[in-house]
Structures are given as structure tokens and as C-alpha cells.
């Protein structure tokens, strides 16, 4: 029973949290790809930027002495989402839209987004320095410990308060997005444009407005994903740069342009990562007594050593590209 609890803590909970982060990031990437047809490499740094904006706002709010029951970072997150969304819109206007007008190839936009990544990273490092910070300020990290004695366990299921909030937030955001895309006129227009941009224009859909909405949504989601990551780990300038690639992997695996695919891909990769570094031999321990003596259980049955955790995402990506390039939900290929 303890082993099951260990599994729940290590795999189920952290997999869900990581999956939420990947999913929110991947949704942004896949939306931008579906509507604008380019790989927005700067998405990771947009997440980092969102986290830093939350940091600044949280600092301001706590300076004003406002303190509610929930962590300040989460309190200011809605405002941070709005700010990040607007900045995302500005970035498009300043950096990508002019190039699109010139009719450049998608790879040029990719390189331009690399330029944006570097600028954002450089600015963050210049302003905040390269060190690590905590988004909690002086607040303690509340940890919920669910007692499992009634299940026969001797250790509690641990989940931190931020993690609870993150998962709740993700569910709310995903539901909201779902309703937006399936019930509202603008949401359907977004889907139409992702499906067939020319036909959308012919039908009278104002493509410029759809593009703007796309950036606003992508920016807001990136802010939440980045803040969540910072709450779970720590706040530093290259926070999200390392997970740009797993996020892209999630988007591609799910099918580019497919929002539900991005969510599925995000969770798939997150759980694959957590499960492949999990030491499965702990699960076999209860069975030690009934197994024959010559079948010794090795100490460490992790599929992959922990250093290679990020590699798992890439392996999944490469497999997907070989076996089913359009992804689980059959997204765009051209």
C-alpha cells in the first residue's frame, strides 16, 4: 500500500502537474501554428516572461500590504495574464506581422522568433539578474497531507497548495477554452481559420481580428503555464527555455492545430517522463515474498536514468514523426 502511495505521489500527482504545464504551453503553440502557420519558438520565453510579470505584480501587491488566504502569486495571476496577453500582441505587431506582410517563408519567422527569445531572455537577465528566486516571497508553501491510515498506508499523500490551485486553474481554463471554441462565434471563426484560412476570408471572417485573439489567448495561457512552473520549481531566467522542446513535442504529438491534441500530448509526455524515471522496482517489493528466490529484483528498475528525463519527450517526438506525422488527432501537415 505504501508503494501505491509512493506511486501516487511521484507519478500521478507530479505527472498531472507537469502535464498541466505542458498542456497549457502546447495549446498556445498549437493555436499559433494552426492560425499563423509557423513554429513560435519564443513560447517558452513567453512563459518565463509571464512568470516574471506575476513576480513583479505579486511583489507590488504584497508591498501594498494586501494579504488574502491564498498565495499572492495566484491572486495576481489573472492580472498577470492580461498583461502577458497584451505584450504577446505587441510582440506580434512589432516582430512578426511586418515579416508576414513581406511574405517571408515560415523558417524566417522561426528565426525571428529565436531573435525574440533571445531578446526576452536577455532583458529578463539584465533586469533581474541570472539568479534564482522564489515566487512565494515570505509566504510558506502550504502542503496538504492526506492521511492514508484508513487505506492501510503509513505515509500520507502529499500535495502542495499551489499544485491544487494549478490543477484547478488548468481545468477551468481548458473548460473555458472548450466553450469558447465550440459555442462562441469568434471561437468558431478561429477554428474555421485554422481549418482553411482562405475559405475563412471568403466567408467574411476578419482574419486580422482572429490573429489578435489568438495571441491574446496564447499569451494568457503561457503566463499561467510559466507561473505554475515557477511555483512548482523556482523562478529563473531560463525557466521555460528547457521545456520549449517538450512543449513542441506535445503539440506535434497531439496534432498541430488541434487544441485537444495539445492537451492530450501534454499529459502523454508528462506521464511518460514521470513513469520512465520512476523506480518500478518499488512496486515489485510487495511481491518479493511470492517470487522465486532466483528472480532477484534489481535495486533500480527505472526505464531511464533521471539525467535523461527530458530525452524521453524527444524520443516520443521522433517516434511520432516517424509513425504518425500528423499526430494523434491528425492535425495539419502543410
Amino acid at each position: 500500500m505504501d508503494e501505491l502511495i509512493f506511486f501516487i505521489n511521484r507519478v500521478l500527482i507530479s505527472g498531472t502537474v507537469l502535464g498541466s504545464i505542458y498542456a497549457l504551453g502546447a495549446i498556445g503553440v498549437t493555436l499559433i501554428f494552426g492560425i499563423l502557420r509557423f513554429a513560435h519558438f519564443a513560447h517558452g520565453d513567453m512563459m518565463t516572461m509571464g512568470a516574471f510579470i506575476t513576480f513583479v505584480l505579486a511583489g507590488l501587491v504584497s508591498m501594498l500590504g494586501i494579504s488574502v488566504g491564498i498565495p499572492t502569486a495566484i491572486l495576481v495571476m489573472p492580472l498577470a495574464m492580461v498583461v502577458t496577453a497584451l505584450i504577446a500582441l505587441g510582440i506580434d505587431k512589432g516582430f512578426y506581422a511586418p515579416l508576414r506582410k513581406q511574405g517571408v517563408k515560415p523558417v524566417t519567422l522561426l528565426v525571428a522568433s529565436i531573435g525574440v527569445t533571445l531578446i526576452i531572455q536577455g532583458l529578463i537577465r539584465l533586469i533581474f539578474g541570472a539568479g534564482t528566486r522564489s515566487l512565494y516571497g515570505n509566504e510558506p508553501k502550504v502542503i496538504f497531507r492526506i492521511d492514508t491510515a484508513w487505506m492501510g498506508g503509513s505515509r500520507p499523500i502529499t500535495i502542495t497548495e499551489p499544485q491544487v490551485f494549478m490543477i484547478a486553474f488548468t481545468i477551468i481554463l481548458v473548460l473555458a477554452l472548450h466553450f469558447f471554441l465550440t459555442r462562441s462565434r469568434l471561437g468558431k471563426a478561429m477554428r474555421a481559420m485554422a481549418d482553411n484560412a482562405d475559405l475563412a476570408q471568403i466567408s467574411g471572417i476578419n482574419t486580422a481580428v482572429v490573429v489578435r485573439i489568438t495571441w491574446l489567448i496564447a499569451g494568457a495561457l503561457a503566463c499561467v503555464a510559466g507561473t505554475m512552473l515557477a511555483l512548482d520549481v523556482a523562478l529563473m531566467p531560463d525557466l521555460a527555455f528547457n521545456i520549449v522542446l517538450p512543449i513542441f513535442a506535445a503539440a506535434i504529438v497531439g496534432g498541430l492545430g488541434q487544441v485537444y491534441g495539445a492537451i492530450a500530448g501534454g499529459f502523454l509526455i508528462a506521464f511518460a517522463e514521470t513513469m520512465s524515471v520512476f523506480n518500478w522496482s518499488t512496486m515489485l517489493r510487495p511481491f518479493k515474498d511470492i517470487m522465486p528466490s532466483w528472480l532477484a529484483i534489481p535495486d533500480n528498475l527505472a526505464l531511464v536514468p533521471t539525467e535523461y528525463k527530458l530525452t524521453v519527450a524527444f524520443v516520443i517526438l521522433v517516434i511520432t514523426l516517424l509513425a504518425r506525422p500528423t499526430g494523434i488527432f491528425k492535425g495539419a501537415s502543410t
Binding site: L110, L310, L317
Partner: protein
Amino acid sequence: MSTASESRWFDLDNPVKRGVILFAGIFILIFVVGLIQGGANAGLLLSQALAYALIALGLNIQWGYGGLFNFAIMGLMMVGGTAVMLVSVPVNQSFWAGEGPMMLGRAFLAFLVGLLLVLAARRVDRIGIKGGWRVAVIALAWFAGYVIYRSQIDPAAAYIETNNGFVGGLGLNPVLGWLLGGVVAAVIAYIIGRICLGLRTDYLAIATIGISEILRALVKNMDWLTRGTQTVSPIPWPVPLPQDYQADGVPIVESFIYARFGFFALLLVIFAAIFWLVQRAYGGPWGRMMRAIRDNHIAAGSMGKNVTGRQLELFVLGSILIGMGGAILVTFNQIFDPSSYQPINHTFVVWVMVIVGGAGNNWGALLGAMLIYIVWIISDPLAQVIFVNISNWSQSMGWGAIPEIDSRALQMRVFILGVIITIALRYAPKGLLPEVMRRES
């Protein structure tokens, strides 16, 4: 449009004149840097910039000629560096004397066994196992191969690391290592190419980044092969080192200048030879065919040209240069540190060099490499100067000094690079020295 009278000699539209002016600018820049920072630093700058130019040339072959999105540059450079390290580092006698070689041999056999298993599994459709079952068999073969390999390599690695440190090298001439670096990179590129080249362009980029990261994780953690985070140094030079000159009585500063310029001279000869070869190929029928494929690979394919085969050729050829460049850099810096390979410093910087310099134009790749590298290097000290001055000013105003100037100035490089990419793409989307469109009459 320039008015005839004013811009006769300053004509930026004429490609040749433009090239001459831009290169002159670069040389002046190098000269100035040399004056300010000293000849030794200029030697360093030139050698490293030229190594990067070789790498940029390689990418130009892949992207400029072939339209291929190679984002695995970092991985290929690292592989080249590993090769030269293994070739030129002195022999580790304790390794050869012990059990290490035997165990590695067994691990290699295990690897072959695993490979054969997978290849055999792919052929099971010959004996009637098809569809989902075949996929299951292949997956099983991969899994079995992986387990077999791990069962041999894990003890081998542990043994070597505890007893010998790492496998050591062959103690041969570094230039040989450079060539081997190119070869190994070519092999890796072949494998990558076979997997990825059928993919859509953006996908190729992401896939190559992914593979590059996998390579980096592997090399960084194979302590028995590369010493991982402990690094390998010093790595020998093909020309006399500063220490060698000092032993002959040359003063310290001059010794660095002689040594580095000696290295640069060797590098220049190699680079010039390769450059000439590439230019010749570009101008000839092979080059024309490549460009035809790049510009319209659907049409070329329907004309019977083996598009993927040609793309693979380009990918492998370009990777040879990238591997060599990576090897040369490791030799020059005399240290092999897997952790030092970062996507920004290696893959992206080279892309910027090619796009800013001018994709499809070899002179553009050279120019881009030198310009971007110089900017990359001087933006740190330049930013330091600026920051120190601002800090002094703010101190005198009573606001206090700027903290952590050193690390902040270093980060300036990243910011400046981003700004340069943006400006370059905006005003010269085809590069400073764009591809010269030949009139094929």
C-alpha cells in the same frame, strides 16, 4: 536607387562591391579590436571566427543550397569535438592494461546483437507476421536490444570510471582528429537524415533539435567515454603551443601571438581549400541541380530526380564541415567539456550567421560568421564598459551601483544577438550578401 553622381564607388547594389565593402569593414573591426585588446586576443578571435565560418559554410550547404532545416548543429559539433578528443588525447595506458577493452568489446557485441534483433524484427513480414503484430514484435525487439545492451554497458562503464577514469585517446595528430570529426559527423548526419528528411520543413527543425539534445545527454553522461562533466584537457595542438615558444625563450605575450597566428595560418589554408572546392561545386552542374531541387522539389521529383537522395547528400556533406569545425574549436580551446554545448551558443548562433550573412552565398556565410562572432565576443566587454560607466554615474547620483555587473554584461550578448537578428531580418530578409541569382542563359 542611387543617384549616379553620388554613389559610384559606394554602390551597395552591386554584389561584388558590396562584398568588398562589407569585408573591408570586418577587417577594420578586427584591426580595432586587435589594437584595443592586443594581438593575442585578435589571434583568438580570428581562429575561432574562422572555425565558425567553416561550420556556417556547412549549414549554408544544407540550408542555402538544399533548403534543409538543420538544427542539430550543436550535436554535430559536439560529435566532432568528441572525435578529435579521442584521437589526439594521449593514450591512457591503465585502460588498455585492464579489463576495460574486453568489457567494452562485449558491450559492443551486445549493441550489435540488439541491432540485428531490430533489423530482423523489421523483416518478420516475410514470414507472415504483419500489421499490428509486426509493430509489437519490432517494439519488443527494441526493448530486448536495449536491455541486452544496458546489461553489458552498465558494468563496463562503472568499471572504467572507477578504475581508469576514462578510455583515453589514441595520441595521434589533431588534424587527423579533425578529419575523423568530419567523418563521424557525416555518419550521424546520415542516420538523422534517413529518419528525418522526409518530414515537412518545420518538423525537420524540431526533430533535429530533439536529436541534438539526445546526443548531448548521451555524451554528457557517458563518463567512461568523455569524462562527462569532469572534462578532458589539455588537448594537444597541431602547431606549437604558446608554452613551446616560451620554452624557447620567447616572452609570454609574443608567444601567444605566434602560437595563435600559427594556428590561424593552418586553419586558413584548410578553410581556403574547402571554400574553393565548395564554390566550384556550386557553380557546376551538380550545384545547379541542387538548387533546382531546392526551389521546386515537387517539380524536380516529378522529373525523376531522386529528391530525398540528393537532400541526404547535401545533409551529409554539410555535416562533414560542421563536424570538422566543431573539432577544430575543441582543439583550439584545448578542452572538451560536454556541458559547455548550449543550443544558443552553437546551433542558433550559426543559424544567425547564415541568415544574416546571406543564405545560399558562401561569401555571405563567411561574412556572417565573422561579423556575428565578433559581435558575440565584444558585446560582453563592451557591455561591461557601458554598465560600469552607468553604475559610476548612478553611484554619483546617490542611487547606488548596479549589482552583479559581470554576469549582467555577459547576458548582454544574448540580448544583442536577438536585436541583431531582428534588425537583419527586417531590413535585409535575404541576408547582407544575398545569393547571387545567376542568369542561366
